[in-house]
Every structure is written in structure tokens, then in C-alpha cells.
Subunit: 413 residues, 2 copies
Amino acid sequence: MGSIAPYQRKHKITVVGSGNWGCAIAKIVAENAASNPDLFEEKVEMWVFEENVEVPQTSKNYNASNTGPQKLTEVINNVHENVKYLPGIQLPVNLHANPSLEDAVKDSTLLIFNLPHQFIIKTCEQIKGKILPYARGISCIKGVDVNGTGIHLFSETIGRILGIYCGALSGANIANEVAQEKWSETSVAYDPPHMDSQVPTPQRSPSSSTANLVEFQHKDTSGQISEVKLQALPSEYPPVDHAVLKTLFHRPYFHVRVVNDVAGVSISGALKNVVALAAGWVVGMGWGDNAKAAIMRVGLMEMVKFGDTFFSATIDNRTFTDESAGVADLITSSSGGRNFRCAKYSVERNQPIEEIERTELNGQKLQGTLTAVEVNSFLKNQGMEHEFPLFTAVFRILEGTMKVEEIPSYIER
Amino acid sequence: MGSIAPYQRKHKITVVGSGNWGCAIAKIVAENAASNPDLFEEKVEMWVFEENVEVPQTSKNYNASNTGPQKLTEVINNVHENVKYLPGIQLPVNLHANPSLEDAVKDSTLLIFNLPHQFIIKTCEQIKGKILPYARGISCIKGVDVNGTGIHLFSETIGRILGIYCGALSGANIANEVAQEKWSETSVAYDPPHMDSQVPTPQRSPSSSTANLVEFQHKDTSGQISEVKLQALPSEYPPVDHAVLKTLFHRPYFHVRVVNDVAGVSISGALKNVVALAAGWVVGMGWGDNAKAAIMRVGLMEMVKFGDTFFSATIDNRTFTDESAGVADLITSSSGGRNFRCAKYSVERNQPIEEIERTELNGQKLQGTLTAVEVNSFLKNQGMEHEFPLFTAVFRILEGTMKVEEIPSYIER
């Protein structure tokens, strides 16, 4: 695929984050950058939180004459494998691991955020004012941003801190399978104000870009309308539209549907992890497939209700049932996903889930437990715990005030 | 639970069919008949297609001094186990296996149909005119009745042949798990014309019941309206309403939601088996959970579209996404269901699915393959194969004109 009109500049891509899902997405966009040289700069930056790692003997990149700790970025750039978080997967040679966050995002027009949600705000504050003012973001973050009584999508939080427009990517995407190029689907949601195509004259220099602000009305999740000023993308660049985003993310093994519903795609990605915990517990109890399906049905209904109740201004209910980010992600997360697996082991081994996290996740944390706590704190503030019995049950089981055995009668309507 | 008013007569229950799902449902209703003596006669009849069986040595009912073939009905009535189709499960003592179809349904007000869909029409024709004219039916049959260019729900087909009203039961119910009393949910759909409560005087004898016909307009699946004459239930009986049906089917381990959408519940139960075949093939290929989830997402969308297109007069789309018969049944059928398993083995062992059927199903047949062929013949007649690419792909793979590898590009939209 290529653009129709020749543009003077190409999009520079940065992936912010390098866990297993960060690396899998970075692999995809680097492959597409290489095969679409008219749209994208070939070299793709990936910010890597630097740490010392040892190349395991099981890696094909193990070198007996060079053992001992090495910097993760150097390992990635030398042998093109994230030996710690995505071992066994060959990363593209045009993917550059960068230990400096500020350097990695500099001059990039496309910023892909893919890191655990507890780190996102700090990370954005660190690069605030240091990115191109007309950059566009895509959030791959599973979770919702809960502060005080409010709840926000991470795409909104990122956009607000950085003063850019940010969409979302989420789908039925167990990271390791995507990295192994097993066929899957995903949802990209992107619905910016109609402005990029309305800029008549290319802005030659980013520094003159303040002349090019476009105001638009932003309706937030509570339905409140606020004026937001966004920087239009200079017309030297190919416009960032659904077609370009499809070219950025679509691979023969990774089928992309681009939609407008950022709220639906983001909420699904967050809440399905909470449901997957319950599914894992139930399977761990040996209750079988019917019971798991019942949990998932109730979970899907609570996901839809949550969207309806708190994001009604923007959400499209069909996202939950029609798109990969909805029901499909719920299905795969409740089969092979890490929240499901850890919850299952927790019951089977009679160990707290934090213990399983430590032994199974190689230093990474579960998103579902965090989201369950945050969602519950929000629901409690709204006085609506009883309206979402499954989400509430998950929280109570996590805090130890309820047992898995109580779920069926607790959620029965 | 009990009725509020005392009624002169109780409902007599017959289960028509005794496969693994037939026996699991018969166990449930027999348990509820025993514990609700004010509503139901204690003895529940189950029609069993008679055959000679041997009690396997693994059965706790094996008797070394009484080996050799025995009649299946006698085994069930003597040792309360269907040693052939639901081995290892203790059936209630008030469940009576009856080899005579006509005797089993005689005088019953509640007929529960639970047999493979290829046998249903012949079975109904055999009992036509020999049942109570005011009996009510519940169809547990997965499948749709395709003849010529028309497609009908089995609940409609049963109702039409027998001249009674028939609802449907379907849900996320792997039979063996239900039989083992593992927690699950189900959907019962029942939406008769409002007539039962309108009969002022009890009819003392069924033979006088022809005086008590109520006409109502029946809107069939094509939207056509026809006049149907139904026999009102005499007011000596507790009315057959949602509350009574819940009492009939609900158990502590089997949670029932009663809804009105007979079409949605029936269609889901039929079409999910077609999707489960595709899910099984994909997993058999080793493509993983994301790929399976993608198949199920596309399958769910085609199920909704099928309902919208051909049953728009009556269907409620939310059944597919909100009820156990919809998304939950799709999930469990694509995990532990027999269509899924046989399709998976078929790829893994590189054997035709008919061969797997023979070796895995102990004489029973897959419903999914039959439904896939019937649905395709209907879609072909409508010139709409291309509108349902996954259903069409399943048919073509079954007939050998397409390969599993072609599914992703074939269904991509």
C-alpha cells in the first residue's frame, strides 16, 4: 500500500514501551515502516526502560564468550531480540531500542504508547513539551485512569497531558501469539476533530506551528463540552487517517479494523482483564466451560453497562459485541491471557495472586488486579457497586472478603 | 417454590429423547418434579429409543453375575444410570425410562423435546393426535429445520405438526458438566399467545376440550401472518408461565433466565455449532487463542446478521449478546463442545470429521456438520452465501472445496 499524493515528509514512529506487548507492536509497525517507505521513515524508535539482563542459554543469541549482565537496549540493538520480555522472537533490524525517553520521542509524528498503565502519567509528564506539537498518539494501554471520583480513558489522559490527539488500539491479542505471527484481529479507534485535512498551507517549520492551532469542541466522558486547542498536522505529511493507520498496523497475520469508538475500544481493553480474573478463578475451581461462559456473559453485560453508564456521550455499544476489542478480546483473555492464567493458578495452588504474579510473570504486573481495584474505587464513589456485581465480586475476592464459591449466587439476577 | 393457588391437577412431564443432553435435562426436571409436588406429578417419563447395551465394567452398576446385553430402558429403570450415553451419572429414581413413545407422551401437559434434529419430524408425526391437545412443548433441539427454500425453528415445526405451542431451551450447557451439577446458566424462551389465563371454566375432561379453542395470529419467520388455533390449557392446571417454567428447569447448579425471544434462543443454539467447527479447525491448526477469538467474533456477527435477515419479525438481537443461549453458548461450545473437539481432532489427526465422529461419539452424530449443510443450502437458495462468509467457509471445508488456511483472508472485511 502507498499514498496517492507524494508528500514532502514522512511519519517518524516511536513506540513508548518495550514489554512483551510493546515489542510485539513495535515489530509490526517496524515491518510496516520498512515496507511503506513513502509514508514512514524506515527507522522506528522504541523506548526501553534500561536494565541489565543476561542472555539466557536457551536464546539462539546466547554467546558463551560474552556472558554476564548486558544492557537490554544493547542486546536488542545487537541481536534484535528482547531476551527478557519477548524471548525467542526476532525483531526487525530497523527497530531501534533507545534508553532515552526524550530522545526516542523527539521529532516523531506518530507516538504509540504501550506500557503498563501505572507508568503512563509519569512518562507523559516527562515528555510534555518535548514532542512535536502536532504529533498523534495511539494508546495500546489496557486500563482506565481513575483519580478521585473521575474516570478517564488513557487515550484522553495522554492527549490532555501532551496536548495532542490520541486514539487507541486494543483487540484479541495475546502478545506472544501476535509476536509469533499467528493470525489475529485487532481494533484501532481513531476519531480526531476534522482538522488535519483543513490546513491549506504546509508549515515549513515546527516552530511556526503555533500559528496553526485549531480549536474544537471536546465532549468528555461525562458529556461536558470543553474547548481544546490542537495543533494541525502540517500538510507536508500524509494525513493521519484511517487508511494510514491501517497501513501502520495491518499485517498479513494481524488484521486491523479501524473504527471511531475510542471509548468502547479502550474500556473493553481495561474491563476484560477484570472479567478474565473471575473466569480464571472459576476454571481453577474445576467448574468447567459452562461456568466460565456464564462468567463471561455476565462480564460482557457489565462491560456494556459500564460504557452505557459512564461514557454514554461517545460510546458505541456495538464495539463490545462486534469488534475484536470487545467480545473477542474477552474470549482470548479468558483463555490464554495472563490475568486468566494467574487467577487459575492462584486457586489451583491455593496461593495469593501476588505470589503467582511473582513466580509467573518475570517481573511484570497483572493489569486486571489493578484495574479491578480502580474500577471498584470509582464504583464505590458513585454508590454503584451493587449495579456491577461481578466487578464488585472480583474486587472483594482480591481483598479477601468474599470467596469464589459465592460468585454464582452473588451475580444471579 | 410452590404455586399460590391450589390447582386440581398437576402437570405431567415427559422428556422425549435420552441422549446425554436428554438425560441431563431429564435429571433436572425430575429433581424439580420431586421437590414441587404441588405443581408437577412426581413421576417423569423419558422416552428412550430402545437398544441393547452392556453395562461396562467401569460402571458402579456393573454386576459380574449379570453380564451380556440388556435393554437400555431396563438398565435405566433398575440402576438409574444411562450407561451408554451418560455414564457415571445417577439419575433420579422418579425418572421413568419408557421404550414406547406413544405411552411416554400420553396425558402429559409438558413435553420436552431433546433429541438429534434429524429425528424430530418423524417423532412428532408419530405422536400427532396422541397427545393432550392443550399440552405445551419446550424444544431443546439445536438446529434449524430447512426444507426447500424455507427455514424454520424446530419449536415452530414441533408446534405446527402437533398443534401446540412450543418454546425453546438453549444455553451454555455442555451436557456432561450439567449432569455433574457444575454451575451453569441457561435460557428458556416462551412467548405463547395470551390465552391460558383467559379460560374461565375448567374443562373437566380433555375430550370436551375442542370447545375451548382460542384463535390467535401467528406471525411466522418470513413475517407472514397466519391464523392458528390453539387449545387453551384448562384452568384446573397451574398456568404454564415464566414462573412455572423457571420452577421446572431452575436448579441451584442450573440458573435459568426465562425470556420471550424463541427465535433468538433457537437460532443461537443451531448456528453456534457451525461456528464451533471453525473454531475447532483453527485451534487444531495450532493458531492459538487469538485466532479462535477472531473466528468467534465473526461467527457471532454472522449469527446476529442471520437473525436480522431471516427472523426479523420476531427476533431480539440482544439475545445473542445478553443471554446464555447466545454468546455464552458460543463460548462453551467452542471450548469443550463436541463439534469443537471433533473439528480440532480432525485437523490434528488429519482424518475426515466423519471418521472422528465414529471414533469419539459412541454412536451419536455431530449437529454442527448437519446444520452447516442445511444453512448453506438455504443461503444458496437465497443467493446469499457471500453475505455469510464464515458459514460458507465451514460448508466448503466440509465438502472439501476449501482449506482451513484460507479462512482468514476469506472472512476478512
